[in-house]
């Protein structure tokens, strides 16, 4: 096959490409599909189930057959519609879903067994013997399943996201969309015109008729010139609006560089979130076909597509073609092809008394009853009045009418309505707010009516927005009716395909009917109709017309399935927006990160934070060695740890005390200025929420700390209480987590170390006792807050300075504390010391535990209305006998493993006998054994008893002794030292 004359391709340049390794040539302006057709390639793919040979069927995004794996290596892109691929030099494509070559696909054997693979067959078999499903049947099915294949390599391209806002979004750049955009843009509104094609014009590009006595392309070119002068209009080519979401938000994907050999420094695609005050949906219509026996032969395609290939792309699948139609539009294809020098074997028109429009053989009141040619159409059988003759042809165009593209109009679950006159589903009343439909998408499919409908829609949209506009002069255009007479499928014995890709035939629909899978959703799910990559764009309406015929119901009563986003497939890469790898979530760095980094810290993820986990030194071979050293150095000298990640909420106001008294389960109003108190917050349902310290810096000024994980939620909760529950209180909150760097300075030498940096501040025990706090200065005038609090159980302080000085403070403390043994420690040593001290942390306050379980029931004050107090008294909470205990292995060599469950010795290890679990554990360098914390039923009465920690997951069972949770300094003497 050679190129036809004319077309919108640039013959001055030649592009080389390969398909299945074979080299071909095409031109700029071609799609892969048009270039393959121009090279005589009718066979381009295989169907999903039967592996039937398939060719290009459509010219646009509705293509069910011509799917390829585009590009190679990590760039391989499976299931790519050849009709949507803009040809570029060096393009490489391969056919997919085949075993062996495309011509000799071994899995085509499936077609021979097709009778066994009827709709729903797999629900009825493969059940015996039982074990064979996973071992034999399913692996067999999975080996055959799927279409294209993933490269299995990370996607090497980059993606972007963007936000756009406009008065009017016009979806579709055909006649209606262009008229709408022109009308609105001339009126000065901000307009976005988006079209999935790389060339504006929609169907106008595929037609031969003229606008105002000039070719349609001439009119489009003149518009483009005007558009270029309108700064308020943004034209987005290669952009698919794929979904209509709430409040005028549309999702769109711009294929920025898919038409290039490589994106270069740019992105491959951009995800746009477009917020539009009004939208004109001018998405056009999709032609439907007419099923007949073997109607899936390569070379059989939609008649309108055939016309587009000839007029726009100067290509045609064969020299001699036939047309099968139930309307006048099919004849137009015959005329256009004829004008391009293609021989018309005949127009087979199902309508009795159909008229002929040119010099081609007409078969009126006829039907195509079979197609011959396995790998490419050779001939068709034409039956008129019961007499059948064979007509030689290499391609057949089929036209069964047009289905308006109502998808986006129905994305909010509004149902389209059947129009008996137009024999089509039109957008219903229940559209997404702000949307107006225009052109062929609402059944106004002639060029004349589409142009006018687009302009009217824009005028209406602008009027809604209070903007004035005037109707532009629109060119004179064809306005011929198609005189369609419904004809849904050709009856007969052979298999007639309805859904090409998923191999759903008229017989399958009949079977679904016989088996009472008649509601459209059952039909779809039983036969897999419309569930292929083309989402049934060329199949669904035809299928439900066939079902309507079988049930005797009207098409309107039969209804449609739901339309869901996306309109066409959207790559997961662009939906993810490129936030992958390390950029998946933000990384929050603590103020001392730089110092820790320079000093060899190993970091760990704590939510979004990266925290120093431990600081290995040269010669240390295991992390445990490092952590043991950090713990011992702290308990014997002084250790320093960045605890900035703990949440900080500044609370101020004359009612701050009253407010905090209601937020905390324990009393807070009685706290005197200059003192800190441990605080426990409950959720309103009575469970423990979070714990921390509350420091009263002044009469009306408190600082609340939260755990790292709950910093955000607790602040939100406090704001809820302030704004929604007790708005009458005079109190203000602000989160200062990131404003202050906070370092824990712990150990017997901590006071001596801090004395070296404070500016005339008395740290002595009488002046600044345990649980004291103060605002002061350090290092010659640096603002600071000092809290004498301890998580480690040692004499300890937490020192807060403005965040930007955190790194320098760390450096200074380590430097001037060298003689005192100043040692940085990380989250591991922090964890060890808090377990040794018996403090609860995230594993103990996990949202499922109570004050009672934590041994803090007495903190829940009576006589005040604090959040959660009431519900904490319910029987299920108050009666829970599980309490926090310490656990130590009977044999010191054995480990305590968090997540082990606790059982009485000798008891069967079943759910019913479960007494609790180990929450946290570590190796204690002070006790020289593993230790742990856990919740144990009746734990208070079990002190000293042996208990079994069962960890069958790792085949462990360890005898533990129940001990006090305070392993180190239970009397707290060191704290108060």
């Amino acid at each position: 096959m050679t190129r036809l004359a004319g077309g919108l391709i640039d013959r001055s340049q030649t592009l080389d490409f390969t398909f299945d390794g074979k080299s071909f040539k095409g031109h700029p302006g071609d799609t892969l599909a048009s270039a393959l057709l121009a090279n005589g390639m009718r066979l381009v793919g295989r169907s999903f189930k039967y592996h039937r040979p398939r060719g290009v069927f459509a010219a646009g995004s509705e293509e069910p057959n011509a799917m390829v794996e585009l590009r190679t290596g990590a760039w391989r892109e499976p299931n790519t519609r050849a009709t949507m691929v803009e040809l570029f030099d060096g393009l490489e494509a391969s056919s997919q879903n085949r075993l062996g070559s495309l011509r000799h696909d071994l899995l085509a054997v499936n077609d021979l067994f097709a009778p066994f693979f009827a709709a729903g067959f797999y629900y009825k078999t493969f059940m015996w013997p039982k074990a064979f499903w996973e071992r034999l049947y399913e692996p067999m099915i999975r080996r055959a399943a799927g279409l294209g294949s993933l490269s299995m390599q990370p996607d090497p391209d980059t993606y972007d996201k963007g936000f756009l806002h406009c008065d009017l979004l016009v979806i579709g750049g055909g006649a209606a969309g262009l008229a709408a955009a022109l009308t609105a843009a001339r009126a000065g509104a901000s307009v976005i015109l988006a079209d999935e094609d790389f060339r504006l014009g929609g169907r106008l590009n595929g037609e031969s008729h003229s606008l105002d006595d000039m070719p349609a392309t001439g009119w489009i070119n003149s518009l483009e010139a005007e558009f270029a002068s309108l700064p308020n209009l943004r034209i987005m080519r290669r952009t698919t609006v794929f979904g209509a979401f709430d409040h005028g938000i549309y999702g769109a994907v711009e294929r920025v560089s898919d038409h290039l050999a490589a994106p270069g420094a740019g992105v491959r695609q951009t995800l746009w979130r477009i917020t539009a005050r009004r939208t004109v949906l001018a998405a056009g219509a999709t032609e439907r076909h007419v099923p007949f026996a073997n109607n899936d032969r390569p070379g059989i395609m939609l008649a309108g597509a055939m016309r587009t290939f000839a007029n726009r792309f100067a290509s045609c699948p064969a020299d001699r073609v036939a047309i099968f139609t139930n309307n006048d539009d099919g004849h137009r294809t015959a005329l256009d092809l004829s004008a391009k020098g293609i021989e018309i074997a005949g127009v087979i028109d199902t309508r009795d008394g159909a008229k002929v429009f040119g010099s081609y053989p007409l078969f009126a009141g006829a039907a195509v009853t079979n197609a011959r040619g396995r790998l490419g159409l050779k001939a068709i059988d034409v039956t008129v009045d019961g007499r059948t003759q064979t007509l030689r042809c290499g391609a057949l165009g089929v036209s069964g009418g047009w289905n308006p593209n109502v998808h986006l109009a129905s994305h909010h679950r509004g149902r389209p309505c059947w129009d008996n006159g137009l024999q089509a589903f039109l957008p219903g009343e229940d559209l997404p707010a702000g949307m107006i439909v225009a052109g062929a998408a609402k059944g106004e499919g002639t060029t004349h009516s589409a142009l006018n409908s687009g302009a009217s829609a824009a005028l209406q949209a602008l009027a809604d927005l209070g903007l004035s506009a005037s109707r532009p002069r629109l060119p004179q255009a064809e306005d011929a009716p198609t005189n369609l007479k419904p004809f849904w499928h050709v009856a007969g014995k052979g298999r007639a395909w309805v859904d090409f890709q998923n191999d759903v035939t008229v017989k399958d629909i009949k079977l679904a009917h016989l088996e009472n899978m008649r509601p459209v959703e059952h039909l779809k799910r039983w036969t897999t109709l419309g569930m292929a990559t083309d989402q049934g764009k060329t199949a669904n309406v035809t299928a439900l017309a066939v079902m309507a015929e079988l049930t005797g119901k009207s098409i309107a009563e039969t209804g449609t399935t739901i339309f869901r986003p996306p309109y066409t497939g959207v790559s997961l890469g662009v939906l993810g927006g490129g936030d992958t790898g390390k950029n998946f979530r933000p990384s929050r760095l603590t103020p001392t990160h730089q110092w820790a980094s320079a000093n060899g810290a190993v970091f760990t993820e704590a939510g979004q934070w990266m925290r120093a986990q431990y600081f290995p030194r040269v010669g240390e071979t295991t992390w445990r060695e490092t952590v043991d050293r950090e713990v011992l150095a702290t308990r014997s000298g002084v250790g320093i740890c960045d605890v900035t990640t703990l949440g900080k909420v500044d609370v101020q106001g004359t009612d701050a005390a009253e407010f905090l008294d209601r937020i905390y389960a324990n009393k807070m109003a009685s706290l005197i200025p200059g003192r800190v108190r441990y605080g426990l917050m409950l959720r309103e349902d009575g469970f423990a929420y979070d714990d921390g310290t509350c420091a009263r810096l002044g009469e009306d000024h408190y600082v609340v700390t939260t755990t790292t994980a709950q910093a955000g939620p607790v602040y939100r909760h406090m704001e809820f209480a302030r704004q929604c529950l007790w708005p009458e209180l005079d109190v203000q909150l602000i989160s200062t987590t990131d404003a202050w760097a906070q370092l824990a300075v712990a150990g017997p030498n901590s006071r001596r170390l801090l004395e070296r940096i404070v500016d005339e501040f008395d740290l002595s025990n009488p002046a600044f006792p345990f649980m004291a706090c103060a605002e002061t200065t350090v290092c010659n005038g640096l603002r600071a807050r000092i809290f004498r609090i301890s998580f480690s159980g040692e004499l300890a302080y937490e020192l807060a300075v403005p965040a930007r000085y955190g790194n320098a403070l760390m450096e200074r403390l380590i430097e001037i504390g060298a003689d005192l043994g100043a040692t940085p420690y990380g989250t591991e040593a922090l964890g060890v010391m808090r377990i040794e001290k018996g403090h609860a942390a995230g594993n103990e306050i996990n949202g499922q535990t109570t004050a009672q379980m934590l041994g803090l029931a007495r903190m829940v004050a009576k006589g005040k209305d604090a959040i959660g107090a009431v519900m904490s008294r319910r029987e299920g909470l108050a009666g829970d006998s599980r309490v926090l205990v310490g656990l130590q292995p009977v044999d010191p060599a054995e480990p305590v493993v968090p997540g082990s469950h606790l059982f009485s010795p000798g008891a069967a290890q079943t759910t019913a006998n479960d007494l609790g679990w180990v929450t946290s554990a570590c190796h204690s360098p002070n006790l020289r054994s593993s230790i742990g914390l856990g919740f144990l039923a009746g734990g208070g009465e079990r002190m000293g008893e042996e208990i079994i920690a069962a960890n069958p997951l790792q085949n462990q069972s360890v005898r533990l002794r129940v001990v006090s949770q305070h392993f180190v300094d239970p009397e707290g003497g060191r704290l108060r030292d």
């Binding site: 979401f245 709430d246 409040h247 005028g248 938000i249 917020t275 909010h412 707010a433 309103e684 349902d685 955000g712 939100r716 704001e719 809820f720 704004q723 929604c724 529950l725 708005p727 009458e728 006589g863 005040k864 209305d865 604090a866 107090a869 009431v870 519900m871 008294r873 319910r874």
Partner: protein, 96 residues
């Protein structure tokens, strides 16, 4: 979705954190004799209407105000938004 913040205009819903029914403003008296029953109702039971719902949204990535948004749970149409604090104060006024 877009939320019409009474002070800041239309804001993307992604800036907000959702809590639930605005009935959560009506916290019972924790010191009342029947507190346990009224709190069980307050904490756990919801009208959960299919239709207009008054609900709490927190402008977490914004000005940190709690809003009461009136929204249809069937269509997602938003009928209005108020500062929750204003509503809470107004209901205090009525109570007095």
């Amino acid at each position: 979705m877009l939320i019409p913040h009474p002070l800041l205009g239309l804001r993307d819903a992604q800036e907000f954190t959702y809590l639930g029914d605005a009935a959560l403003l009506d916290r019972p008296d924790g010191l009342a004799a029947d507190a346990e029953a009224s709190f069980a109702d307050y904490v756990y039971l919801r009208n959960n209407p299919a239709g207009v719902h008054r609900e709490l949204w927190f402008h977490e990535h914004g000005d940190r105000s709690w809003l009461i948004v009136k929204r249809n749970t069937v269509t997602h149409e938003i009928l209005g938004a108020e500062l929750a604090r204003d509503v809470a104060l107004a209901s205090r006024g009525e109570a007095q």
